[in-house]
């Protein structure tokens, strides 16, 4: 038995009874699709039943009444040029939108290029400045400490070291002077031996 042979709307509204109703119920047990459709209809019926009951209006306007006549805008809209006007308007909007979008896209490319160029120009200096500031801030206490230590060395050990170095330098100079004197004596001996003994 096909599902099309069942009138589920009538069944949902309670208009089927007797054997017809039993046949609907039997099919619902077997067909999942119809059960789903019936479930949706029951929700609709339930919602309709929950609506408040209102009295029908006492006066019903007819099409021939002036009240029901359409206004000038409705008549204009429903007139012959309506389709052409709508088409022209849509075309204009499309052309305008395309123009705006195209110009906006080109502008974005230019701006992005200029922004990239400006960033490339300014970034190294800005980064360098920031890095220098951070390095200076980090090094300032260390430099202060080192300067203090150096001052201490200057006051304490440096004078002693300088004295030792001066003494060492004097000793070196004496040794070098002695070496030169020795060399001079050797040279003198060579000259004298050449003069006295004929150059042997």
């Amino acid at each position: 038995m096909s599902c099309e042979s069942f009138d589920w709307k009538a069944y949902a509204l309670g208009e089927t009874a007797g054997a017809e109703g039993a046949r609907h119920e039997a099919h619902l047990k077997e067909c999942a699709g119809c059960r789903e459709e019936m479930s949706g209809l029951k929700v609709t019926v339930t919602a309709l039943k929950r609506l408040p009951k209102m009295e029908p209006p006492r006066r019903i306007a007819f099409v021939s009444d002036p009240v029901a006549e359409p206004g000038w805008w409705a008549r204009l809209w429903a007139s012959g040029p309506r389709l052409g006007f709508a088409s022209a308007a849509m075309l204009s909007v499309a052309i305008l939108g395309h123009g705006v979008m195209s110009r906006t896209g080109a502008g974005n490319d230019g701006v992005e290029a200029r922004v990239a160029q400006e960033v490339a120009r300014r970034l190294p200096a800005a980064v360098g400045q920031v890095v220098n500031q951070q390095v200076a801030a980090e090094l300032a206490p260390v430099m202060t400490e080192l300067r203090g230590r150096l001052d201490g060395l200057e006051r304490g050990n440096l004078a002693k070291v300088r004295g030792e170095l001066d003494e060492r330098r004097k000793e070196d100079m004496q040794e070098i002077r002695g070496a030169f004197e020795l060399m001079e004596r050797r040279m003198n001996t060579r000259y004298l031996s050449a003069a006295r003994f004929g150059g042997n």
Partner: protein, 179 residues
């Protein structure tokens, strides 16, 4: 004839009374001989002659000769070699110490040669040879002497020179002073 003989006899007596003195040339010959010996002392590593041999004759005492040497030519300090290492100092000291006995033998030979050369020095007078040894300030002198002085009577040296006395006799005759 008799007069002539008499004059010669008087002249002989007068000449016999004068003291013979070695000339400067004789002293210079000994100096030259000493210098040659120093030059030939070691051909491969000659000594450093810093004061040439000089001699004087002291009337009534003898002939005295001196020289200043370093038994070994040592490297000098320079800006390119500001200091000597301990190893170098020890090596130089060892080399000098090994050279010292040869220096003493050379001085003995100089004494004998000087005695044979200086004919006018009386046999009872002395021949003296003194060496001043040079050391750099940075050197480790240790027990090595600064001066070596050797003296001997000329007669004893002539005995050795004539081959009548050996080295033992020479050692007995020579007085050595090292300081």
């Amino acid at each position: 004839m008799v007069k002539t003989i008499a004059v010669l006899a008087v002249a002989s007596v007068l000449a016999w009374g004068e003291t013979p003195v070695p000339s400067r040339d004789e002293i210079g010959a000994v100096e030259r001989s000493m210098y040659d010996k120093l030059l030939k002392f070691h051909v491969e590593a000659p000594p450093d002659i810093l004061g040439l041999p000089r001699g004087l004759y002291l009337d009534g005492y003898g002939a005295v000769f001196t020289a200043e040497i370093s038994p070994l030519m040592t490297p000098g300090i320079s800006p390119f070699r500001p200091s000597m290492t301990k190893e170098e100092i020890a090596r130089i000291r060892k080399a000098k110490e090994q050279r010292m006995p040869e220096v003493r033998v050379m001085m003995r030979q100089m004494l004998v040669d000087a005695a044979a050369t200086l004919d006018r020095v009386p046999k009872n007078e002395r021949i003296v040879i003194g060496f001043v040894l040079f050391y750099n300030k940075w050197e480790d002198r240790g027990a090595m002497p600064r001066t070596i002085t050797m003296l001997a009577e000329k007669a004893a040296l002539l005995e050795v020179a004539a081959g009548r006395g050996g080295m033992q006799a020479l050692d007995t005759a020579i007085q050595v002073r090292e300081e």
